[in-house]
Symmetry: C2
Subunit: 180 residues, 2 copies
């Protein structure tokens, strides 16, 4: 029997989030990173090596473009109608085209989700968040950008896989899987 096409391709989506104790990921959507520990940065860089592509929002892309240069990068944006490709970067409007289909068609197996809050929420709401690595740095910000941003409250269940203390001052890394 002739093979009619590729089998549907399973993509694993892994979100990486660095947060304060009080769940803030930055001061503002324009502000650069820079407040996280070098231990988190090392973990994050090591993890990215294993990824086939990364998904970011427009603001996150702006402040991290330099560092993502050599990676397959999908920038989610509502500002365009049709996907726009620029070297290894594709600007993609997930309301106009099917993002999951696109990622699968590219043959990606592991895709990292790097934020910001709307992108984390979009992926979670669309079953594109299988695993979650949350680094909690030992600060409280009392204001700033929250991890996830949505208009409605929902209760998504996760199960804790591991806890790791990354340094002496008390940066911790939590690994969760989606579901029970």
């Amino acid at each position: 029997m002739k093979q009619k096409g590729k089998l549907p391709h399973k993509v694993t989506y892994i979100a990486y989030i660095a947060s304060s104790i009080d769940g803030r990921i930055s001061k503002s959507s324009q502000s650069n990173v820079g407040w996280t520990s070098k231990e988190d940065w090392n973990f994050f860089q090591k993890s990215l090596v294993k990824m086939d592509a990364v998904i970011v929002g427009r603001n996150t892309y702006k402040i991290t473009a330099d560092r993502l240069r050599r990676r397959n990068t999908i920038v989610l944006t509502s500002k365009i109608n049709r996907a726009k490709i620029k070297d290894k970067v594709i600007f993609f409007n997930p309301e106009k085209s099917n993002l999951k289909k696109f990622l699968s068609s590219k043959g990606y197996k592991k895709v990292a989700i790097l934020g910001g809050p709307k992108v984390y929420n979009f992926c979670l709401a669309n079953k594109m968040l299988d695993e979650l690595f949350v680094t909690i740095e030992p600060y409280i910000f009392t204001n700033g950008i929250p991890m996830f941003s949505s208009n409605t409250f929902k209760k998504y269940k996760f199960s804790l896989q591991s806890i790791k203390k990354l340094n002496k001052k008390g940066t911790i890394l939590l690994h969760y899987k989606y579901g029970n």
Copy 2:
């Protein structure tokens, strides 16, 4: 030499916070607790026994009054000018009277801070937050009330004292101290 009065009395302030992974403590300021694990509840109840008094905001008081009945309770509110006492509960406006002085004068040694976000922030901003117990339940809410609420971004440093896994599904308890 005659003693002129009591020595200034050191009060230790300990905040208890139950949060989702994404730093939300409830759906809305009117909504009751009820989503946290029984293991967290047990830890919390055991801890309260050692406390001389608790501080809560007006909303938190409304939804927890039943359970705080037998405790010395300070309800922070901006709606009154002079402190109002009702059995073991005192309604107190910290902008009109000196809260630290009041607590010290009562002889309290350990005071628990139970939220909500404005009360946590008030205490943190006024050096009334020496220790912090954060329970992280394995959920993501994507919306709701944040742990701390302030109009300005600040970076308060904490140091991690311990991590404890409270149950199988992955509720964790983090203990921090204020400062380095």
